[in-house]
């Protein structure tokens, strides 16, 4: 280990020094690596952002009336929970069932409901995702780890400024005893885009 991590361009607060020293000690002992920590920080900053959307989904799973309102008028039902604003109007919520799996894409650019899902992941903006979601959604989903039984119909929704889609995933089996707050933690961004079940 070089001393590269020990330069002090400015004065660190005591707590900052303490965290820094702890990281260095644990890395020196081989317990963690700087790269592992980098990866976790990035993963939590970039990938687990969509807490607002997760709250919408968890509410719909626990409150049938809310689910009905959400499917009837996504924008209004989402606004009930305090979420909305630019890039968050014209929301249409599509529900997964045993028979239907929904997938959201923006073929033109990268329209994305950021008030509920945070910032779009890089792959959502990529040309291969945008074209293959329409051309061969089943193969694309399988590659992304979402294997669908043949009998499940895949519906692809093309987002635009006039219609932004959010997938309402199916409530996982065996979660009957969980409350809304606990369910929130089970909802992933990928499920709300439709690239995961």
């Amino acid at each position: 280990m070089s001393d590269d991590h020990h330069h002090h361009p400015r004065t660190q607060s005591p707590i900052e020094q303490r965290v820094h020293a702890l990281e260095e000690l644990l890395v020196d002992k081989g317990i963690v690596t700087h790269e592992m920590i980098d990866e976790f920080v990035a993963r939590y900053e970039d990938d687990i952002g969509p807490l607002n959307g997760a709250r919408v989904v968890a509410r719909a799973w626990t409150d049938p009336d809310y689910r009905d309102r959400l499917l009837a008028d996504g924008t209004a039902a989402i606004a009930e929970l305090g979420y909305g604003g630019p890039e968050g109007d014209h929301m249409i919520v599509v529900e997964n069932t045993d028979e239907v799996h929904n997938l959201v894409v923006c073929t033109l650019c990268s329209c994305y409901p950021w008030p509920v899902l945070g910032l779009p992941p890089d792959w959502y903006k990529s040309a291969p995702y945008r074209s293959r979601a329409v051309r061969e959604p089943r193969a694309l989903l399988a590659e992304m780890g979402c294997d669908l039984p043949d009998e499940v119909e895949v519906r692809v929704w093309d987002s635009s400024a006039e219609a932004r889609y959010l997938v309402l995933p199916q409530r996982p089996a065996g979660t009957d005893a969980l409350g809304e707050d606990e369910l929130v933690a089970l909802v992933t961004r990928d499920a709300m885009i439709g690239v995961a079940r």
């Binding site: 707590i15 965290v19 820094h20 002992k29 317990i31 963690v32 687990i48 807490l51 089970l186």
Partner: protein, 82 residues
């Protein structure tokens, strides 16, 4: 994957628009280090939460990540990692 991090209450990391918010790089390092250690130990956030609760109770006026850093020291000591 640590899927059980609190989303509400005093032990929940601060968020803005659903995203975790780090006001300084060291806060992100402290959080990432915590998750990396839990993953390595095969533990969930539940194993860390009691330390966090104690740190919050001990210094309620400190920021979330100051409390988390204190809890992290206690967790490392408890697991005998150093």
């Amino acid at each position: 994957m640590i899927g059980d991090i609190a989303t509400t209450g005093p032990t929940a990391p601060p968020r803005r628009n659903g995203e975790l918010v780090f006001d300084a790089p060291w806060e992100g390092r402290a959080f990432g280090l915590t998750v990396a250690l839990l993953e390595r130990e095969g533990l969930g956030w539940d194993a860390f939460r009691p330390h966090l609760v104690r740190a919050i109770e001990a210094d309620p006026d400190h920021t979330y990540y100051e409390q988390l850093a204190v809890a992290l020291d206690a967790f490392v000591a408890e697991r005998g990692l150093l």
